[in-house]
């Protein structure tokens, strides 16, 4: 069953067509990876799904409801949550308050404090909880933003390059986190360049190229695809 159904979506910025007539289905309970070279339109497609850009044409369904005209906050209230490409946190506020703002809609009082502590431990940010978010390293800010996205307990988690700026160890841990969230039933859509990370988590892969769907299927099928290797993966990387 489709949780997200993008139908014939096009996005133009003046003369540039960033996304062209894209159809994408993300099924309930899957980890779906969106890959493609730089400028393929991956982040634009993300922003269309979450409502930061209105599409020029096409419709977007979430849980079979047309959300094309809805503002981002309404889509978040429906059950989606996003981690943006560049860390997007409240830099002048303490780390704990960042998490608190994300949690306070769902929880209050002692329950919220317990959940704050749990998330801070999970993100390895407990020792830095009093620091301003802007004082964290790039990788830690990525973790913090993932934590804020998780605090909403979304049905659909959208992660735009979640491992940028992370060490290999942190990247692996992020992969494990995504797998465990998925095991609990969360649907995850990930834009990623790191193919080792994609291999770790992906159940289905869609390849975007020049704003269009270039290929889709299982990771194995995508890796076997000569054309995909030519445009993006580079044959030397595909083993």
């Amino acid at each position: 069953m489709a949780l997200v159904d993008v139908k014939g979506v096009t996005k133009r910025f003046g003369g540039l067509t960033a996304v062209s007539d894209v159809d994408l289905t993300v099924n309930v309970g899957e980890v779906h990876c969106l890959i493609g070279p730089n400028g393929a339109g991956k982040s634009t497609l993300f922003k269309l799904i979450v409502g930061l850009y209105p599409p020029t044409r096409g419709t977007i369904l979430f849980d079979s409801i047309d959300i094309t005209e809805e503002r981002p906050f309404a889509r978040v209230q429906r059950g989606m949550s996003i981690k943006m490409q560049a860390p997007s946190v409240f830099k002048e506020l303490p780390v704990r308050q960042n998490i608190q703002i994300a949690l306070q809609k769902r929880l209050s009082g002692a329950k919220r404090v317990v959940e704050e502590d749990r998330l801070l431990e999970l993100l390895n940010l407990a020792p830095d909880s009093g620091k301003l978010a802007g004082a964290l390293s790039h990788g830690q800010q990525q973790w913090l933003e993932i934590g804020m996205a998780l605090a909403l307990q979304p049905q659909l988690l959208l992660l735009d390059e979640p491992t940028a700026g992370m060490s290999p160890e942190e990247t692996f841990r992020t992969g494990e986190l995504i797998q465990s969230l998925n095991a609990e039933g969360m649907t995850v859509l990930v834009v990623e360049h790191d193919m080792a990370f994609v291999r770790q988590i992906a159940q289905r892969v869609t390849v975007l190229h020049l704003g269009k769907i270039f290929a889709r299927g299982s990771l194995e099928a995508i890796i076997q695809d000569e054309k995909v290797a030519e445009i993006y993966l580079g044959k030397t990387h595909v083993h």
Binding site: P72, F73, V76, K91, L93, P94, I101, K105, M148
Partner: protein, 357 residues
Amino acid sequence: MFKLLDGSQTLGRGPTFWSCFLVVLAAALIYPVFADSYDVGNFSYFFIWIFMALGLCLMWGYGGMLSFGQTLFFGISGYAYGVLAINMGGGSTTIVALVLSIIIAMIAAGILGYFMIWGGISGIFFGIVTLSATLVLAFFLGQTAGPEWRIGSARLNGFNGMKGMDPLAIGDFYIEGVALYYVMVALIVIVYLALRMLVNSRIGNVIVATRENPQRAEMLGYDVRKYQLLTFTIGSGLAGLSGALYTSWGQFITPSSIGLPAAAMPIVWVAFSGRSDLTATLVGSFLLLFGFQTITVYSQQAALVLMGALLLATVMLAPQGFVLGVGKLVADRWSARRQRSSKLALADTSRLQPDET
């Protein structure tokens, strides 16, 4: 409730701060016993403007919206009080006029705010639009000298301003002099504590989140426009409170209290004080108003030039505000001294222990 008063969004926390607060409040309460009535009246006049400054602090410092429209809502409410008090008659109806005029200012703020915020106006353009609206009202009221510009019995009177309204009263008792002073102190305490609770509440969390990163706040499921409109309406409503109190205090209001020099004043007070904190704004605005009044006795021009120079100095030397900077410095020194003395005490204790055993 005390948790909200003492939350992380406001500087000045803990027993030391609240003890100081009570001492200052006690001093303010006994001040009329020792001071002459002229000084008490002057202090009431300074207090009138504090609400407007606190409102701007909420909008600008906490909400990230630089509104140049504080005197717009001050004027709307001030004139509304005049019109209502003249037409409704004196006595206790002046209290109703005060409340209604604040509501009118808040409705006006709600309408202007709705079009600005839902229209996507932010940053510097927010200041430009609110300033434009302020100037429009000041110019409009300036050309209402003719007898046709009247609402009921109340004549607007152009640049000469509206006069003839009663001051605040309960029955036959006029709230003037020392009584007005105590009403002002009570209102300031109520507004200050209420604002502390607001900014430390969940709503306050979203207000500062919207200032920091509106896109992220929306991505957490908050309709940031509603929070911005709420902030703008409350902040402007406080300017309305100042306006109605001003008209009732002086029993007149003129368009010059709305125009450009007047509109710049709250910005100077709040910038100099430290826009990101309510207490700094309260203290700094009072000090500036006191200083301004003292210099105005000798030369109004000199006072205005000094205000401009202060704004320049603030922007260049202490963009976070002078009063806030000094307050933080004192707090840091205080906590460092306490830490040092507690370490020394600990060292003493550990030296003693082996002897005891």
